[in-house]
Amino acid sequence: MGEMEELRKEADNLKDQITEARKVVQDTTLQEAVAGTTLVGRVQLKTRKTLRGHLAKIYAMHWGTDTKLCVSASQDGKLIVWDTLTTNKVNAIPLKSSWVMTCAYAPSGNMVACGGLDNMCSIYNLKGKDGNVKVMRELAAHTGYLSCCRFLSDSEIITSSGDCTCILWDIETGTEKTIFAGHLGDCMSLAVSPDFKMFISGACDFTAKLWDIREATCRQTFSGHESDINAIGFFPNGNAVITGSDDATCKLYDLRADQELITYQDSGIMCGVTSLAPSLSGRLLLAGYDDFNVNIWDMLKAERVGVLAGHDNRVSCIGVSSDGMACCTGSWDSFLKIWN
């Protein structure tokens, strides 16, 4: 037997082993476990603010940790930092490349980052001495579009790319610290664990991968989706992962049981999930879809308990503020809305 054939056999055996090991711990299902839990009552959120100012499709938004500021990115070539309480624009940052696909707010509030079809992640210092917001670093190494970025701190950021890899960067030196390779399709989204030790990525190979940031390894791979994973997030305690896909479903995977616990789907929903965010307690899952709506799911019972209808085009991004007080949606209709 040639070495290639042997390796293929070994890989198949290991895959079977993993499938078996997952079955062994499947002594029940989440569905059965929550049979006695009451469904959450109907959730009706109202639009409290509409943030107007972008002139083209909004592709991304991210809340700052201070809970009142957020940053949004639009293909009108601007990053806008908003005071969501007053709807004032704190900063309007013109971008070199208007083909932006992602943006992020540093936990410190000192920086924002963005990137897209320029294959780069640009870091902007919001607290420059003369009050002007300038590009601080341009992180270039990806050979595909930048789909997502998230700061670990003012000195480190993680990016995901259409080149199928994720990279941990040293912002000071502008260089790659670690390259996380393994996905077989474009990486579309990433999320950092609450303890900052791990991150998860969702890709066009229909899988989600859990990565150990310091060990630089992939710990687990989750399958089950039947199309590209566009959105990914952690359950608030860091023990589970939620994914949203073009297959019109969201899934909850438990990290310690190493398997899918439940799927959020409805025969009436036939369009892709673009974005998702859990509420503060994790009980609610808010997910944005291609059909212009946000569906609110009872995360334990996997039933829809609300809808946010207010945008006139695809909801491209969604986020819940860190104190859980508000949800922000961004859309191709060029508006952001604050709901609670």
């Binding site: 390796l7 890989a11 476990a33 409290r48 359950f235 049981a257 616990l261 503060l280 609670n340």
Partner: protein, 72 residues
Amino acid sequence: MSSTMPSSNNIAQARRTVQQLMIEASIERIKVSKASADLMHYCGEHAKYDPLLMGIPASENPFKDKKPCAIL
């Protein structure tokens, strides 16, 4: 003409795949019953602090516009 000899690249890739699968196969797994119970417990413990779940009284909602009072 297609080569029947795999390139060293393909073998290296196949070796990496096997290495990765060995890492993933070797992790410790907890029972789904425990995983579910822990998720339910977390939701239960934190529900009362979840504004979107519990609703926010108008007086405590910083996003709600205060309507001016008209004295008739």
